[in-house]
């Protein structure tokens, strides 16, 4: 049995429309989030002895110099784009468990003034073994390839556009009560159905926001967290995993038939439920990475909240709503609150389990957080209070 780790502090900058965080630099945003997280945990910057990042482009040396962190004994970074977001908790928990660090700060941030995540396919030259997609006209981002999966899910299971609409409408209703959320105006089915198609069957509203922001989380041992000011949020399980049949996902588009219409999360789900000794029925609130609406439905199936192929009717039943079968993204998610590559989902899980969430799920004890369906490593964590 590993030494359990806990999240003892959370810090976040405000969330900004893409580019509006300037003239602050990305590092300035990170610094503000780290200082806020350390203060929230009742610690000082000198206590920090581990740094974990998601995703690319963060330099531990620069952060140490900038903030005056005296010495670290552990630093690591999860690879990828969306997929590994929840894995920062996995790395931190392992560093705590092995004694490599006592106070790990996990950092995730994005500033999209130059580099737009949603146009990721045209942000780099295609490699020789992935040029066919580009030549086929898939020159934008993963929204276009998730449209391919959404279309196939509709074909196989009869999933309706109303299901995608419900994912977006539920997120918007949740965001409407949350200060700092970017899209707060409630959305009707008519609004959804009249939105422009970006990649048929997905509309502009099925695509997440493009925002800037930074978040940081202080992870320490559960034992130490008990003596700190905040109610500890325990990392009951954490995983980064994936199967070959999922592979590079929307970069190769040669997943197995079953995986093609999934979020690639089944191996993560299996590991998480095994570690935590629970099943999907024990989860009180799910923070599912929603870069697009359709993969929320895929993940509900991957994580066992409904049977394969039944995700559409499941969400249309109101399952994601307050009091529904599994409340999803009560902060409004990437679709309505803000997009900071999965970090906002971890923050919401912590707030739910502290009992301080804006849209508090009553008696929430156990939360699931997932990384985004994208190339391996897929990731997830189960948190409990």
């Amino acid at each position: 049995m590993r030494q359990e780790a806990a999240i003892a502090g959370v810090g976040a900058t405000p969330y900004y429309f893409r580019g509006e965080s300037e003239p602050q630099t990305l590092y300035e945003l990170i610094g503000k989030a780290v200082l806020a997280a350390v203060a929230d945990a009742g610690l000082t910057i000198s206590d920090v002895d581990g740094l974990v990042f998601y995703a690319g482009g963060f330099d531990p040396a620069q952060i140490m110099e900038m903030l005056g962190i005296p010495e670290i004994g552990f630093s690591s970074q999860v690879s990828g784009g969306g997929n590994g977001s929840a894995a920062i908790l996995d790395l931190a928990a392992m560093a705590i468990d092995t004694g490599r660090a006592k106070t790990v700060v996990c950092i995730g941030a994005c500033q999209q003034s130059r580099h737009r995540f949603g146009m990721t396919f045209s942000n780099y030259a295609p490699p020789p073994d992935a040029v066919w997609a580009r030549a086929a006209g898939l020159v934008g981002g993963p929204g276009q390839t998730f449209a391919l999966a959404a279309r196939r899910h509709m074909h196989l299971y009869g999933t309706r556009r109303e299901a995608f609409a419900e994912v977006v409408m539920a997120s918007r209703d949740y965001a409407s009560t949350r200060d700092g959320a970017i899209r707060r105006k409630p959305l009707s089915l008519d609004d959804y159905m009249s939105a422009p198609m970006l990649a048929d069957p997905l509309t502009r509203l099925d695509f997440c926001l493009e925002t800037d922001g930074a978040l940081a989380f202080v992870v320490t041992s559960a034992e130490r967290a008990r003596d700190l000011p905040q109610r500890p949020v325990h990392i009951a399980a954490s995983a980064q995993a994936g199967v070959r049949e999922w592979g590079r996902a929307f970069f190769s588009l040669n997943q197995s038939d079953e995986e093609f219409v999934s979020g690639g999360g089944k191996p993560v789900a299996r590991m998480l439920y095994e570690q935590a000794g629970i099943g999907p029925g024990d989860i009180d609130v799910a923070l599912l990475y929603d870069h697009f609406s359709a993969p929320v439905i895929f993940q509900l199936e991957d994580y066992g909240f409904c049977a394969k192929g039944e995700g559409g009717p499941f969400v249309e039943s109101g399952a994601l709503r307050p009091g529904g079968a599994i409340p999803v993204n009560p902060h409004g998610g990437h679709l309505s609150e803000a997009y900071v590559i999965g970090m906002t989902h971890i923050r919401e899980a912590v707030e739910q389990l502290r009992g301080t969430a804006v849209n508090q799920i009553q008696d929430a004890r156990i939360a699931l957080v997932t990384g985004g369906p994208a190339p391996i490593p897929m990731s997830g964590a189960i948190l409990r209070n």
């Binding site: 030259a125 073994d129 030549a135 391919l148 070959r244």
Partner: protein, 138 residues
């Protein structure tokens, strides 16, 4: 009247190639669609690469892909009002182990787009290569 899909404009696009994709493009230049099959275990693979993921052999045969059907597709529209749609799709090759090659579905009425539809092979000219495209008859 239904709209008809057009080919994405790739006339200025340079197709990057390496030793493991070159045979595909060499065959494409003469109008043949060949795909890699492991010379040891007979498994097809896509995309082309240095190893058979099923037996790790590097010995590769390039063989005809066979007939294609439409696995899935999306419809993209240009920013300009009235711009004709581009339809990226996945061509599935049942006789080649079910591999899928991303390709544009061109000159096809949108009303004819149907998962499972038989695809007819055509070619579109990039700067340095012929790229496969597919068409569905209404």
């Amino acid at each position: 009247m239904t709209e008809t899909s057009i080919a994405p404009n790739i006339s200025g696009m340079d197709i990057p190639m390496d030793a493991w994709t070159q045979p595909f493009w060499d065959a494409a230049a003469v109008g043949r669609l060949l795909v890699p099959r492991c010379a040891d275990c007979g498994c097809f693979r896509w995309p082309p690469g240095p190893f058979c993921p099923d037996c790790q052999s590097q010995r590769t045969d390039w063989v005809p892909a066979g007939p294609a059907s439409l696995y899935t597709y999306t419809i993209l529209r240009g920013r300009e009002e009235g711009a004709a749609p581009v339809v990226p799709g996945l061509a599935e090759f049942p006789e080649a182990g079910g591999i899928r090659i991303p390709a544009a579905i061109v000159d096809t009425p949108l009303s004819a787009l149907r998962i499972g539809a038989a695809l007819n092979l055509g070619w579109s000219q990039a700067a340095n290569a012929q790229v496969p495209v597919f068409k569905i008859s209404d």
